[in-house]
């Protein structure tokens, strides 16, 4: 039995297989259609096929884009510590920021970040710096030996007021956060900012 490829095939030439009433075409070449009809069929074919694939794809992309409409719960005043927990010694003290965190289907009270709180001698006003490095978002350490903030990732270094100590890869000083003291409790407006930028741009 000759293989289909060996069969000279011309317009309408067909190979039949099987012996039953069912016939299937093993190979044929398309009849030469008029250009206009060809264009029409091609356009319809592309449109139908494209649509058949586009609908599932678009649906998927729609779901995939969901995070763009979700906004961060940050930016509210969050109680971080009682005033008594920050002695007025001018030394930064690290505190976790516990707040409601929404992680997709979970909603829980969790530590969502950390801040450094500092109080100057005799003052009740509290300075607050985000512990997140403005360079690439690592956690900045307070280095007691040099009395500075040092980022362990790329060695950004900051003074106690958050100012950059050159040379530093960080494009801006540490991010200061607004604080408020209410009935001996320190509240911090906890925000995150895009890292790697010279300006503080709030995330979310």
């Amino acid at each position: 039995m000759p293989t289909p490829s060996q069969t000279p095939s011309g317009e309408g030439s067909r190979q039949k297989c099987g012996t039953s009433a069912w016939h299937c075409v093993t190979r044929s070449t398309a009849p030469a259609a008029s250009d206009r009809r060809g264009f029409f069929s091609q356009a319809i074919a592309i449109a139908c096929g494209g649509l058949a694939l586009l609908v599932p794809l678009a649906t998927g992309v729609l779901v995939l884009l969901d995070p763009l409409r979700r906004t961060s719960a940050l930016g509210k005043l969050i109680p971080v510590a009682p005033l008594a927990a920050v002695p007025d010694d001018g030394i930064p003290h690290e505190f976790p920021v516990v707040a409601e965190r929404v992680d997709a289907w979970n909603r829980s009270l969790e530590p969502i970040g950390a801040v450094y709180l500092r109080r100057q001698k005799g003052e009740s006003q509290v300075e607050c710096l985000s512990a997140m490095c403005p360079h690439a978002g690592c956690f900045v350490n307070y280095d007691t030996e040099s009395d500075t903030f040092v980022c362990p990732c790329h060695n950004s270094q900051f003074a106690l007021d958050g100012a950059i100590i050159e040379p530093s890869p960080s494009p801006r000083p540490m991010d200061a956060l607004e604080t408020e003291v209410r009935t001996d409790e320190i509240l911090v407006k906890f925000e995150e900012f895009y890292s790697g930028r010279a300006q503080k741009v709030v995330k979310g």
């Binding site: 510590a81 008594a84 516990v98 350490n141 895009y194 995330k203």
Partner: protein, 790 residues
């Protein structure tokens, strides 16, 4: 058979396919230099195989990713090998890619007509790198979490669409479940799919053009099968052997300076502690083959935001562009030379940067810290004040320059040392997480991170450092996690507080006024100090010893349970001495004797409940009352008041840590701990109905353990809510408490009848009535009791 094959070939044309695949002509015979592409394909297939099996056991969510990887690594037989293979094959793939690229460039195999195939190869390279980047996050351990945070933060500086891009990749404004599901979809679906697609094109084009034979041909032509396949297979096997060696003896053990682990489940790929956004991770580094990029970023210090943009986005893009343009550049007369040079500079530069990064991080390992003693002394003296420096060196320019050089070297050494400490700390937390996860009670639904957050051994040192170390030392040479001892402490050293050694020191005329006790406090000239210095020397030393033993027994320290139960007679004698109003009870209250208000109550001295009360409010009449020196009240208001500096949970963690009361796995327990815990069973502890405990060490650590297990389930809302620590506080039945807080534990032994005496929490006065005050239960559910007693 032949008839069947004929039939199959007729229907499918498979013979021709196989023939085409196997009998491709290799001009000049098979050569080793052609093996790179094939080994890469074999490694990729191995990655698909190991990856699919890992997939079958992996669960991508913030509560289950680490947990499932832990389970693969430590619980499933051979899991460590499977993970190790997948991990090190991925690294092998990067190395083989570099070799393949070098070989293609050197041989000029990118030139016409193979330009398109070269580009396909570069696309494949990017896909492989993307696979390793996405795979790094999936275990959801601290290392992957923080490294990926940095990587995705860099995304946000992409011009125009950066922030949106970042949010899409991260799956929301914050890292969480959807970060994992997305990364996993990329890692196991999209990227491998694309890779297979491009690999098919790559191989098809390769077949179309044939091998780019190295001229001159030295041997007669051969066919792909079996000559080249043999060499390819041998090379693939060699790669496997290298990977297996790495699995069994990871390079990290070399760099971290540790000995090889003994337990097989510690072999293979590393698994850090579970990701914790609130727990800083100073040891974050990208995978080694991205270290050069990491180091490259450091070159742009002082460039501000532009440096970041240039280092992380523009420069790598330019390098890629140059690679993509190679086929076009190669047409130029000197083009090939340029391409080869560029490749070598690129790979050489990456090598140098990688070495620099490693040197920066690990130099403290091979640098002698002593050599900086001199420069360190000068720095301590003059700081960074240029004028003082100049004055110190008598304005000698040469010496000043030398000093600055030395100071710079010292600074680098110091940073490296800090990095090593961070790595050490990270490894310790990782081991601890595994130890806690492998407890018989397992990992709670809230995830393994809550195990660490509620572990006294992990949290105690942190809490102590934050709240106590300003005044108190806690100097333990064997526990580097407790590096809180500072030279200028102004309150007693709390290391092994209330232990026999500690109390013996307190009652030692030589030490009581020293820096480890009352030396730097207002008590240094108080009644206690003068009693110890003036009166105690007149005592019979045996009596002092009895008091030490009896008072220390009040604490019921797990580490001393053994001795305490052996020395019953001594303790009884000591108690009588303490209760004598001419001795201790003259000032102190002890059970039925003495009055509160003059000096701390010695009933249950150093016990969990006593400590929590003391830390909560040292001004309370049960403690120092009006004689309190400077110690703040950390939870004066009791309950869940937001005015409290420490929550009930934190108080419990701190007290447990000070008392050395935490879970230790049986395998790691020392002879001492098993000894003391075996004894614990004999000891009559009302709230400890663990007489039938099969695991001796478990018993030791039970009280702390209970809290750990009981809490995580409601961790989400109790992080600062002490009330949830003891939901059944009013219950007087120790067994009921036991069951409600610890439903999953294995010990349901009946409490001996005579020990089941109810212990109304926080009422030391009542304890005297039941005649068993010394057996005060270290039950976590009593942990608010001091507040109640006030």
């Amino acid at each position: 058979m032949k008839a069947f094959l004929d039939w199959l070939d007729d229907r499918t044309g498979c013979r021709r396919l196989v023939h085409e695949a196997l009998y491709e002509r290799v001009p000049g015979g098979a050569r080793w230099r052609y093996v790179w592409g094939s080994t890469l394909s074999v490694v990729f297939v191995s990655q698909v195989i190991t990856g699919v099996f890992l997939w079958a056991a992996y669960s991508p969510s913030a509560q289950t990713a680490w947990e499932s990887v832990y389970f693969i690594q430590h619980e499933m037989p051979g899991g460590w090998l499977l993970r190790g293979l997948h991990h090190f094959f991925s690294q092998a793939m990067v190395v083989l890619l570099a070799l393949h690229l070098m070989q293609v460039v050197i041989d000029g195999a990118y030139r016409a007509p193979r330009e398109v195939n070269f580009w396909l190869g570069l696309v494949l390279m990017l896909l492989v790198l993307a696979l390793s980047l996405t795979g790094y996050l999936l275990p959801w351990d601290q290392k992957g979490y923080w490294a990926t945070r940095v990587a995705t933060n860099l995304l946000s500086i992409v011009p125009l669409v950066g922030p949106q891009l970042q949010q899409l990749v991260v799956g929301g404004p914050d890292y969480g479940h959807h970060t994992l599901t997305r990364f996993f979809a990329l890692h196991a679906g999209v990227l491998p799919g694309l890779l297979i697609f491009f690999l098919v094109l790559h191989v098809a084009l390769f077949r179309r053009h044939g091998i780019c034979a190295k001229l001159p041909l030295k041997k007669p032509d051969a066919t792909f099968w079996p000559d080249q396949v043999l060499k390819d297979a041998v090379a693939a096997l060699a790669v496997l052997i290298v990977v297996l060696i790495l699995v069994v003896h990871p390079v990290r053990t070399f760099f971290s300076g540790h000995e090889s682990p003994v337990n097989v489940t510690q072999l293979g790929a590393e698994l850090g502690a579970p990701a914790d956004p609130s727990n800083q991770y100073a040891a974050a580094r990208p995978e080694w083959y991205f270290l050069f990029l990491f180091q490259f970023l450091k070159l742009f210090e002082g460039w501000g935001a532009n440096g970041e943009l240039f280092g992380a986005i523009i420069a790598p893009s330019l390098v890629l562009l140059t690679l993509f343009l190679m086929p076009l550049v190669g047409r130029w007369k000197l083009g090939h030379g340029f391409n080869v040079l560029f490749t070598f500079v690129l790979i050489g530069g990456a090598g140098v940067l990688t070495a620099a990064a490693l040197n920066e991080d690990y130099q403290a390992q091979w640098t002698d810290g002593e050599s900086f003693a001199e420069v360190q002394a000068v720095i301590n003296q003059v700081g960074d004040d240029e004028q003082k420096i100049a004055a110190h060196f008598d304005n000698d320019v040469v010496r000043i320059r030398e000093f600055h050089k030395q100071a710079g070297r010292y600074e680098r050494y110091r940073k490296s040392r800090e990095h090593l400490v961070s790595v050490e700390q990270a490894e310790r937390e990782a081991r601890r997480a595994v130890a806690l996860a492998s407890r018989p009670s397992g990992i709670p639904y809230s995830g393994a991170v809550t195990l660490l957050r509620n572990d006294p051994k992990t949290q105690g040192p942190k809490l102590f450092a934050r709240y106590c170390a300003n005044c108190h030392a806690h100097q333990d040479p064997d526990e580097p996690m407790a590096e809180n001892g500072s030279a200028e402490t102004s309150a007693p050293n709390l290391y092994r507080f209330a232990s026999r050694e500690w109390i013996a020191g307190l009652l030692d005329p030589k030490h009581v006024a020293g820096p480890d006790y009352f030396g730097n406090t207002s008590h240094s000239e108080g009644d206690m100090v003068s009693f110890v210095i003036d009166t105690l020397p007149e005592w019979n030393p045996d009596d002092v010893h009895k008091v030490v033993v009896a008072l220390s027994a009040e604490a019921q320290l797990p580490s001393q349970a053994d001795e305490d139960s052996q020395d019953g007679a001594l303790i009884d004698a000591g108690r009588k001495l303490i209760a004598n109003e001419d001795h201790c009870a003259g000032c102190h209250k002890f059970r039925d004797s003495g009055e509160l208000g003059m000096a701390p109550d010695l009933t249950g001295y150093g016990s969990r409940q006593w400590l929590i009360g003391m830390i909560s409010d040292p001004n309370h009449e049960r403690y120092y009352a009006d004689n309190n020196d400077r110690m703040p009240a950390f939870a004066k208001d009791g309950g869940d008041s937001s005015q409290n500096i420490l929550s009930a949970r934190q108080l419990g963690l701190l007290a447990d840590w000070l008392r050395g009361q935490w879970y230790e796995p049986a395998a790691a327990s020392t002879a001492e701990s098993s000894k003391r815990s075996a004894d614990k069973e004999k000891a009559k502890v009302p709230a400890e109905p663990s007489t039938a405990d099969e695991n001796a060490t478990e018993a030791t650590a039970k009280p702390a353990d209970e809290e750990n297990v009981a809490e995580p389930s409601d961790e989400s809302n109790d992080s600062d809510n002490p009330a949830s620590d003891s939901p059944d506080e009013p219950s007087d039945d120790p067994e009921a408490k036991e069951e409600s807080t610890e439903p999953s534990d294995d010990d349901s032994g009946e409490p001996p009848a005579d020990e089941a005496t109810p212990q109304p929490s926080g009422e030391p006065a009542e304890k005297q009535d039941n005649g068993q005050p010394a057996e005060e239960p270290p039950d976590p559910s009593t942990d608010e009791s001091p507040d109640d007693s006030r």
